[in-house]
Symmetry: C2
């Protein structure tokens, strides 16, 4: 659920549209046009620092108050714009902890590939990292929930015996996610071949020592 959606659920439908059931679609269309308006400005090369809510409102054809009813400021709105541009988080197969980890890492890999090929996503991430306030918002809204999902998968593995019972969940999460992130985020020229997610998950699960060691 996006920030905008959660806000809509909390009763943020357009005033005067009657019941929430009738209000939802109209409200979602407005949100979409606001997000698309900001995206258009970013694609036109307007730097985030110069991007005011007033300008987004003008581009989207809505009033400033309509935006402020949904987002507390441009930082929160920006995070929803980034989320709208990225592939959604994966549906976990649930067949095994191994398969769920592969799905999580495969989604990181795809997101990394997309960021390499999409100028706007690349640009948006660079701007995000240079603004501590927006980076914190992105972290809270996107990265933290994703980490919590990974922790849940790993805890399940510890309980069902796929993973050793003495493992530190947070460390193990970094053992899987870290190798993918150094390639997607820190080394923009690193290989992100198909099969990389499986390769990382299976190698970390099995360990590196010879079978007879």
């Amino acid at each position: 659920m996006s920030l905008a959606e959660s806000r809509a659920r909390e009763g943020g439908q357009e005033p005067g549209t009657g019941s929430p059931v009738r209000g939802r679609p109209r409200s979602e269309a407005v949100e979409r046009s606001i997000i698309e308006g900001m995206m258009t400005l970013l694609e036109d090369g307007v730097p985030l620092a110069e991007l005011s809510i007033e300008r987004v409102a003008r581009t989207a054809g809505v009033g400033k108050a309509t935006i402020y009813r949904r987002w507390s400021g441009k930082e929160e709105l920006f995070v929803d714009v980034v989320r709208a541009a990225e592939p959604p988080d994966p549906v976990l197969p649930g067949t095994s902890v191994r398969d769920d980890l592969v799905a999580l890492l495969e989604s990181l890999r795809r997101r990394g590939l997309m960021r390499r090929s999409s100028a706007i996503l690349h640009n948006v991430h660079a701007q995000m990292k240079s603004s501590p306030k927006i980076w914190a918002a992105y972290h809270a809204v996107v990265i933290e929930p994703r980490r919590r999902t990974t922790f849940e998968v790993l805890r399940r593995g510890r309980e069902n015996g796929e993973l050793r019972a003495d493992l530190d969940i947070e460390l193990v999460s970094d053992l899987f996610v870290g190798p993918m992130l150094v390639r997607t985020v820190m080394r923009p020229d690193a290989a992100l071949d198909e099969g990389l997610a499986e390769h990382i998950v299976d190698t970390v699960l099995a360990g590196l020592r010879p079978d007879d060691a």
Copy 2:
């Protein structure tokens, strides 16, 4: 050997100082004062973009030509300033591949801790990342040699039987380095406790499955 040192070896001693043997110490003192001059400017909060070789020369009390004899431009000089501010790369114990990997990761951990506690290092790294040219220079001079060292250690492990013979060296390097880097570089509030290097190395070597699985 730093860029400046390698340059000195290639015959970059001060003109008129006679033989390279007599020239070295004087040359090194000059290099140190140039590096310290640039460091002083950075500590005073001068942004890299406004930092000219002329200004560094004035601060260090040398002529511009003296700097250009040693560095091709401020990007190369800046990389040597960062290296001078960071702890040197570790001496590997060589007792086992496991111990060498622990030493390599421990040095990443210490560098990460130092970057958190030193405002100037933090600042310098942030500026470096926002300049693709300097980042590329830092990558070539600092990160690539460090990766090559890690690859050599891992190859030795594959040869001496500490590691499985079928492992992909580059992937395995990321399996060890990635978890440390997500904590030092990407999550500035992540735990970097003593013992983390051993913990990562031993867990990745052993794998995550229960012994009887």
